[in-house]
């Protein structure tokens, strides 16, 4: 795919040789194919973009290594390859505003590059201790049921502040929290009711008001309460508490989605960005002889199977297909949701031997071909099965 795009860009460079601006743009497009995937965090002011980007960005994992996170790039800035869109509430007005913009038919058809995040999930339900669970349920329901959530690869509830606080929890903070947790619960309860009560001079113990204030500013009232509860129920050192806070924040789920949908498809998404920029250039500054290039771009767009795979993964996971249970699991795996290497797609060990992979691939192909041709199934379901068949064929094609 990258090679095809490179060829297209080279052909375009010939066409625009005499135009320095266009040449610079095409040059940049080509360079970007070598660079890490750019993921933009966008959303209304104070929806928690920076906090979330920071929480994700400091994550030293292999999964997100090839990623550049852009905190709310302006429209004039560089074009992101993928987008994490933050909303504070799953309200129709906000969701309508969160929808990715249109663009060319190819841009729309391949618009499988955004994830919706219900940020500040800890605010759901007036900060009750089960706020995060409720938020996750709301997000899942919205993804499955709300037509405004159709275009997204995922709708994920994340408590950005908690995630960031958890990720960067310091020893002194843990010690403070542990000291508070040691106070009998009944006694402490009214002091952790609100920010005011937590920072009240009447708070028991010698901890200065400013220290308490900085704690509540870092973690939020919900975070403080949750941390105290977690310490009481067994998270008795900083590392454990940190891990548990992060786990509950929903950051892990977001990271997995970014890894599976963005990082694993980095080549396709970067190619997409380049093609969309090339399309825009060809449309804005038509040149004699550009027609042939335009039709080559169209052919490329029509053949790009990666985007169909991504869209189908999103549809299956969002519950928008008739597939469920094991067939759905197998389908998303074959489509590459857990990695695009043949072994990943077939659910085999990474070091499986080629013969084994080939047999498993052939088996999957036969079964899904059968599914794709069953006349008793609805058209949409057969179309979905066809996409899986195409993925399996592509997998086997590596052996020829």
């Amino acid at each position: 795919m990258t090679r095809d795009v490179r060829d297209l860009l080279a052909a375009a460079s010939g066409l625009y040789r005499d135009d320095p601006r266009a040449s610079a743009l095409l040059h940049d497009c080509a360079n970007r194919l070598e660079q890490p995937l750019r993921v933009a965090f966008t959303g209304a002011p104070s929806s928690g973009k920076s906090t979330l980007a920071a929480a994700l960005g400091e994550w030293p994992t292999r999964a997100l290594r090839d990623l550049v996170l852009l905190d709310d790039p302006g429209p004039a800035d560089e074009v992101p390859d993928a987008t994490v869109r933050l909303v504070r509430h799953l309200e129709p007005d906000e969701l309508a505003a969160a929808h990715p913009p249109g663009g060319s038919p190819f841009a729309r058809q391949s618009a499988v590059n955004s994830v919706l995040v219900l940020s500040r999930a800890d605010e759901v339900g007036a900060g009750r201790i089960d706020a995060l669970l409720t938020a996750k349920q709301l997000a899942r329901r919205a993804w499955r049921e709300d037509p405004l959530c159709t275009g997204f690869l995922g709708v994920i509830a994340v408590a950005g502040q908690l995630a960031y606080g958890g990720r960067s929890l310091r020893d002194d903070e843990f010690d403070l929290l542990a000291a508070f947790a040691a106070v009998p619960r009944e006694e402490l309860e009214r002091h952790v009711l609100s920010v005011d009560s937590f920072t009240d001079p009447a708070f028991p113990g010698p901890i200065p008001v400013e220290t308490r204030r900085s704690l509540v500013v870092r973690f939020g009232m919900f975070g403080v309460r949750l941390a105290l509860t977690l310490i009481r129920t067994g998270c008795d050192d900083r590392v454990k508490l940190s891990a548990e806070l992060v786990r509950r924040s929903g950051l892990g789920e977001l990271r997995d989605t970014l890894a599976g949908c963005f990082v694993a498809r980095a080549e396709a998404l970067k190619a997409r960005t380049a093609v969309i920029r090339l399309e825009a250039l060809l449309a804005a500054q038509p040149r004699p002889g550009g027609d042939r290039l335009v039709s080559r771009v169209e052919r490329f767009a029509a053949a790009a199977h990666d985007f169909r795979e991504l869209r189908l993964i999103a549809d299956i996971r969002g519950g928008r297909t008739a597939l469920s249970g094991d067939p759905a699991e197998e389908a998303v795996r074959l489509l590459g949701a857990q990695g695009t290497a043949p072994a990943d797609r077939l659910g085999l060990e990474p070091d499986a031997d080629p013969g084994e992979i080939y047999d498993a691939g052939l088996d999957a192909l036969r079964r899904w071909r059968h599914e794709a041709e069953r006349p008793d199934r609805p058209h949409a379901e057969r179309t979905a099965a066809h996409v899986v068949v195409r993925s399996a064929e592509g997998l086997l094609a590596l052996f020829t």
Binding site: E91, E123, A126, G127, R190, L193, S194, V195, M221
Partner: protein
Amino acid sequence: MTAPAWLEVLNETMDACRTHGRADLAERLRRRRDAPTGQIRLGVLGFPKQGKGYLLNAVLNAPVCAVGDAPTPAVPTEIAYSAEPAATLVGRSRERIPVAVERLTGELGARPAGTLSRVEVGVPRELLSAGLVLVDTPPVGDPRSPRTAAALDLLAEADAVILVSDATSPLTAAELALARHVRTWCPHVLVALTKIDASPGWRAVAERNRAMLAEAGIDAPVQPVSAVVRQAAAKAGDADLNARSGFPELLNWIAEQASRPPEQSRALLAAVGVRAAAAELVESLRDRAEAAGQDAGLGQAALLQRAQRRADDLRRQNTKWQNLLSDEITDLLSDAEYDLRERTRKIVNTIDRTFDEGDPAKVWDDFAPWLDNALAEAVDVNYTWLADRAEWIAQAVAACFGAQYDRALPDLRLDGSGVEGLDDVRRPKIEKFKVGQQAFTGLRGSYGGVLMFGLVTSLAGLPLINPVSIGAGAAFAAKTIKDEGGMRLQRRQAVAKQAAQRHVDDVFLRFSKECRDSIRLVQRRLRDHFTGLAEELADELTHERETILAGTAERERRTVHIRREIDRLAGLHQRAGELGTIAGRQQRRELSA
């Protein structure tokens, strides 16, 4: 008891609202007028997820409103006093369906959207016992959504409004606009700043909100509250904690609303309603006047200017085409006569040459048909040329009218005029030559035919001296007469010459008269045609200008009417303001046209 003063102003404003197509405003005023006495309605309004439900539940110390995860119902919930908890769903056609309070949320979820108009809940609360009704509204959002409309519908009957905005961020532009709108329609508004338990920066947010409201001229206090703290205080029975929740102040404010003297309250509400309606109406009237003005301003001026330009063009065209026509006709007259004279002169030359040497008695038989042909040809060519020139003149004049000339040229065929007048062309009196009769009959027929049938195009374009005439001259000259000489021959030659010349003269005279007449006819026809056209264009222009002017007058009349209406509404606005002052409240600035 006499009708209160506010009623008259209110009714008059309602009429104005109806007259100007704002039935919605009229309906709002009507509901204000007919609001049941003995009830104080306190509305709670806000954008989604600001904590409205929590606030109401905390006010009532009871889980009456749906909170949190479930989306709030799309219809208002009215909470009033009743000895036992009770809930009623009120349908679109006012049917009442009692449901158990604890099953209310489920029942609401089970109803299809749009079948309910409101929910009524009764709770045994001291706070409500004096007739206070709390109204929970659907969240405000997209201005076009029915949910927003249902929420703002509250303003028709609300005595006071609590606006709910949470402390996680200062008032947004949309919230500020909502506050302004609410304050316009309702004299008593409070902004409840919720979720202060979870927001470390709530004090700064409260200050910011107060400053923004003051800057926008919205007279509404900001009350920070925490439903969570209130709930905990209620559970623990902790009065100190309750004081920290901000709810005691909020409840005081609510109680204040409930304890106002009803008649005074009604007058104030009516006055505020009238002022709000008058202001909204004036705004839409101003928009309309402005739109009409703009329409008139730009478009009108441009149209008039264009019409003026076209009139000027037309005047210039008229002078131009008239001059052109008269010049061309004068030229044509002299050219045609000269041409004919030239042609006949050449024929006369040949006659002279022929009879200087030839004997008329011998050559006459050949000479007569030649003369016949030569004259016919001269007349023909001259005539063709004349018709062509006439056609050309018509086109040149038409060109003066430019692109506006989009019709056929006039019919310039000169059919048969004056043919009868040629009958008495005198024939040559040389009877002894015995030729004249047939020759001249043929000649007459020939050019009469030309006149009769217009252009004989096959002859058009022949040169004046053609081989026929040269050949004829040579042939006649060769027939010299040797035998006869002296006086007799010379006399015969002179007579023949004279006769032929006179005939040519006669034909020339007759035909040149014919030509002049034809040319004059062409002139008249062209003049009539183009005068008609110019008049038509002028008429069109006049009509167009009248239409434009009439439009301006109509618009001016309408603008004056709108201005008068605005003045009238400003009067109502002011009277309502006076009522408001009487009702114990200072009003803000007045409207003006």
